[in-house]
Symmetry: C2
């Protein structure tokens, strides 16, 4: 780089740094200077290209291009270390290495049967000129759908244990992109999305308004969470996130609304440091997914590809499943998690006084078990089964739950026996209240308890301020905690569904028993807050779900008029709830409503019974973040397809082109769609169910109500079907 | 109180608050107003008395008297809570209750067979006048040798979970007492003592100079640790500490050198709070021991009496013992804890490269086992046996040790077999490096490992900055940790010797398997720092040991000239090391030197072989903190007595009056004393051993060298002894 400047004349040196970059990078891009001449390195795959160079201060700079046009303008990289505030400059390049990889792998479960991992890698070896000449490597991988890079601290004599004060990675964007964002909260991802230009981002108002969120810590009003979804004025879709977040804090982004510069902000620990590292170490990958089609974002497997293969050798015990549970009852005030109304209300003989509204009682749990068994639902989750719910929240209390002591009305032996007899799997619930130290002390006991009573899955929860006090949900200590829990669960052959953890970064590839996370604003917010705007579910796949499956808990059929939460309602139609089983991917999907509410719509419930949770293929038919999504998925090991179509607050016609079906083959499509007069607010439970013969030439036009959606099951037609059922015609 | 003021005339109200207290309390003391008239409450036992009242702001105030003279002038009490900064005033007294207790109990092990627990208790019930009328109780107990009080937060509707911002307890002293103090460090008690007037206390210099201490955090230059030992100008001895420190941070004291006011400073947590409490709750006892004789401080059992009886029902498995160990080798540089010199130095086949100086190798351990077996020493401690010592310290590293993986040259199966065959108990070593979270995750595994290999005792260590990061060794979280470890150890029937924990507060009564702590500046400092001044051991029994036994590791025979620590030396004579087995009480006593150094002085080593670690009785013959101590102890279940006499940097004649011996009975006394030309610095290893017949009329005069000491074993004489051995004559 320095040599390059010299050949071009010293006048460049007096220009501003930003201009310098632009000129240099433009020069590289246009003139294609060889790496040797300029020390510029680059690689491309399809339309995507990245460049790397050192600037005149020896600071690493990268850029990303799509179709020759800049997506990320030249952007700095590097660190502040506690013992070296300049670990971002004064570097020389001591070498580099290239690698081409093209392979295919099969996930244990997922959206597609095969995943192609195809990239060009460039590893850059840097050394600081100043003593003691510390080393830093940066690894770039360019894929057809984006670029990932990570920092590696090689084993070296003068950098062993060290503390990161700040990561200085920048993402310099090219304009005031339309952005789908939530605040950069250290402890929560449970915000509604705001859509705005980058220049308008200020999270103060939304943070202050979000009183339903248990813990809110947002020191920077200009910070946002990733995955951050953007769309440029010329219709390029850009998604920035990270992959393989292990032993490192989550990266949030500070937005400079004037320069359109995003810069990494790592979540701090209790004393303000960011990460305690030990070389050799590599950071998570920083990911920039880019596409000229919204669908290209949704089908990207880059984040999964940047994660390590499964560390669990035998995965035969890991099974996706649907489940029901004693849970929506509590969200809607029908019953309670707690057995007594007060922690200290005990009768004269010292036993707790029941409030008479405890949900997790044996009879009620059996009702759910019966329902699951009758409908082929594999699992039953029960929350509030263990003692401690009377004073579990808000006290920053450490020893809050013990994870092994049932309430007196929860007969775990009998429930275990009953569920086993009915062929239903019980799902354990371990709420920690954020007291991770308490959970870690008892984790072995908790998992042994699950093994003892045959629970093969656990839902964890972190509702509350973290203990160790001063740590945050998204800081390095908790990042390590979540992985410890996943590993411990794997040791005990238990699958994991973590609620209120950090947002996922593709680690489900490495720990496939870690099947789902919440880490976002789930369906539950419709019960206890102003709810989720109708567009919410059209944004989630482009943001939160880029990192991994979400336990959104779809399937609410009784949309409103819950007597204990007056004024609250789900902000979708009933059939949109069905569509979510397709559009919001998770290998664990809850059918979240009450058995009686499903019984009231047993025809619509058929779709939930039919829809699988593991897929061989996925096709994005049409999509636009914040507006609509129509997608089709092929059931694992089957010829059945399932289509979900959703819209935002606007009525819309979904165009379900079925060209993915086998040519010349006939299928029966059952279409669950909004009734003509349906509307998420006024008339959400009105739907129609129609049945047609379809084939690969079919183009279904389906009317979606405002806040509505449609679900379609498509199965090969029998000869009898072909005769008896009408062919679909527009 | 308010009524009392009125009867005396309103002019009092315009006087300064301090003057008001003095006048009022003087009035109560002198005039003896009845509790009913004045709302003043008081109780006395022997020469000790306390008074309590509310001042005109409704703030609780207490005072302590000895022989009618104030020891603690009227001093405020109360709290700042996070949600109520005035939980120290505006109280009314709603009632009080009195209780007299006189009983005797037997410790599982200790300095005396029986302990008398004799006190008058007054419980004061307070309520805040302002809404919501929160309750606070204060419980006083007056003993013959002092006063203890604690706060109790009763169960109440409007104080459930709460956070203490500050405890406001004051100890207003009557003058510029001579004080034996160490800095109020949140993480260490390993300082040398300074003797000064209260007005001269400033810890800045000593903190800055104490570079050998692993972690130093002392935000307040005027803060000191407890137990704080003081002596008044009129020869009253006062000791302030706390008893039964459970689920609460340690109390340090801020010294106002002008007013002689001490005020409680609780060690904060990671976010600056002091304690997270849940009513009903009681604080530790604040203890004020007072005597007109220094010996009266040393014999006080008040702190033990203020602790709860044993929570371990079956204590038959708890045995005091002496032990040797692979440890002083490392302190003196003969061998290393670590197996390799660098964590990352591995051979071509990936195995670590030994440095050839690893102490915990099988052959060397067997040497200690042989020595223990040959000399009737019950235990062998081995440090550095487990992997991780190459980079264990100074990196704030969380996963530092695993507690179950031996180094390749430590054959634990063979060592277990060998020790068992020789009748020797192995003592486990679990260094945590301050990473308590790591230890808690692995504690069950670690204790199961001990059970598996027959280890019945563990020495823990906390050398390093605490993890959870931001917490301190003496904060509430770690206080709870130490108790968790003691309970876990008891569950696995393992006895505990905690190094670098909070200083003890008598919890060895409640958890008698928690046999010793370091929590002070041990003998080891003589090996790696400027060492411990000759007066150090004359101060320890009046300070650190008031809370409980200390694992000081006495018994160093090779006082100086260790080739790897040139210039370092133990600051005592050899026989003073013997005396410490008597003067520094612990049920776990190490014979810390090398076998070969004991072999070189096998005549003197006989005392270590003979001296027990459990006692039926203790007599303080003469004592003055900072100057000298001569004490005698009677062996448990035996007629044998052992005397220890130590002096500071001054030569001195110890006066060992033996009037505690059975009248008319003859004993053989073996006197291990400094040779006439002995001197801690110039000639520390010169000693004489003499043998005499003694009886209860004997008054031994023993010359102690500068920094010297003497040890005497006294056993009933046989008829043959009586004839063959000369009677002692002055």
């Amino acid at each position: 780089m320095i040599a390059a400047i010299k050949t071009k004349g010293t006048y460049l040196l007096i220009m501003s740094l930003r201009k310098l970059y632009i000129i240099l990078f433009a020069a590289f891009a246009v003139q294609g200077l060889s790496a040797q001449e300029s020390k510029e390195l680059s690689a491309s795959m399809g339309k995507v290209k990245f460049s790397f160079a050192l600037d005149e201060t020896g600071s690493p700079v990268y850029a990303v291009y799509f179709n020759q046009k800049p997506v990320i303008r030249p952007s700095h990289m590097g660190f502040m270390l506690l013992d070296d505030s300049s670990f971002y400059k004064d570097f020389i390049m001591t070498g580099s290495a290239r690698k081409s990889v093209d392979g295919t792998w099969q996930p244990v479960w997922g959206e597609t049967k095969n995943i192609r991992d195809h990239y060009e890698e460039v590893a850059v070896h840097l050394q600081q000129k100043k003593s003691p000449g510390r080393l830093l490597d940066i690894i770039f991988r360019v894929f057809e759908d984006g670029v990932g890079f990570r920092y590696e601290f090689p084993k070296q004599p003068n950098l062993k244990y060290f503390i990161v004060s700040d990561e200085l990675t920048e993402f310099n964007l090219t304009g005031n992109h339309k952005t789908f964002w939530i605040p950069g909260d250290y402890d929560s991802n449970e915000y509604p999305y705001t859509t705005s230009g980058l220049s308008e981002i200020n999270n103060t108002q939304i943070v202050n308004a979000s009183t339903a969120i248990a813990v809110r810590v947002v020191p920077d009003p200009y910070s946002v969470q990733t995955p951050l979804m953007m769309k440029t004025a010329d219709n390029l879709y850009i998604n920035i996130h990270e992959a393989a977040l292990v032993d490192y804090p989550a990266m949030q982004l500070h937005v400079d609304g004037k320069s359109f510069q995003l810069s990494a902000r790592l979540v701090p620990d209790a004393v303000g440091n960011k990460a305690y590292l030990h070389a050799p170490f590599h950071t998570p990958w920083r990911t920039i997914i880019v596409s000229d089609r919204a669908a290209g974002i949704l089908t990207s497997k880059m984040i999964l590809n940047l994660n390590e293969p499964s560390k669990i050798e035998n995965t035969s015990w890991i099974h996706p499943m649907k489940f029901v549970g004693v849970w929506w009852e509590m969200q809607t005030g029908k019953s309670t998690w707690n057995y007594s109304d007060y922690a200290d209300s005990v009768s004269s003989n010292g036993s707790p006084i029941p409030n008479g509204r405890h949900g997790a009682n044996t009879a009620n749990v059996k009702r759910y078990i019966d329902f699951a068994a009758a409908n082929g639902i594999q699992g039953v989750l029960v929350e509030g089964w263990n003692t401690g719910w009377e004073d579990w929240f808000g006290n920053w209390k450490e020893n809050v739950f013990d994870f092994v002591t049932p309430y007196p009305d929860f007969d775990i032996k009998e429930i275990t026996r009953y569920a086993a007899a009915k062929g239903v799997k019980m799902i354990m619930h371990n709420e920690t209240s954020g007291s991770a130290t308490n959970y870690e002390r008892q984790m072995d006991t908790a998992f042994r308890f699950m093994n003892l009573f045959g629970y093969t899955a656990v839902k964890t929860g972190y509702v509350g301020k973290i203990i160790p006090r001063g740590e945050h949900h998204d800081g390095q200590w908790m990042i390590n905690h979540y992985v410890r829990v996943a590993k411990k669960a794997a040791y005990y052959r238990v699958t994991l569904d973590a609620h209120e953890p950090v947002r996922p970064t593709g680690l489900q590839r490495t720990y496939p028993n870690w099947m789902a996370c919440e880490a976002s604003r789930g369906n539950e917010y419709n019960a206890f807050s102003d709810g989720n705007a109708p567009e919410h579910e059209t944004i989630l796949p482009f943001t939160r779900l880029m990192g991994g499956p979400m336990d959104y808990t779809p399937g609410i059929f009784k949309i409103k008029n819950y007597s204990n939460v007056p004024g609250r309602q789900v902000h979708t139609t009933l059939t949109k709830q069905l569509a979510l089983y397709v559009t919001l991917y998770s290998p664990l999907q809850m059918a979240a409503d009450f058995p009686e509410n499903y019984a009231a719509h047993s025809d619509a419930f058929q779709f939930i019974k039919d829809v699988p949770v593991d897929w061989d293929d996925t096709k994005i038919i049409e999509a636009e973040p914040g507006d609509y999504i129509t997608m089709a998925r092929k059931e694992k090991g089957s010829d059945n397809w399932f289509v979900g179509a959703i819209t935002d607050e606007n009525k819309r016609i979904a165009h379900a082109t079925l060209d993915f079906l086998d040519k010349g083959k006939k299928y029966v499509a059952i279409i669950y769609s909004d009734a003509p007069d349906a509307d998420w607010k006024a008339n959400p439970e009105a739907y129609t169910i129609t049945k047609f013969i379809v084939d690969s030439d079919s183009k279904l036009l389906i009317s979606l109500a405002a806040g509505g959606g449609a679900a379609i099951s498509i199965k090969p037609a029998s000869a009898k079907d072909a005769k008896s059922i009408k062919k679909y015609k527009n």
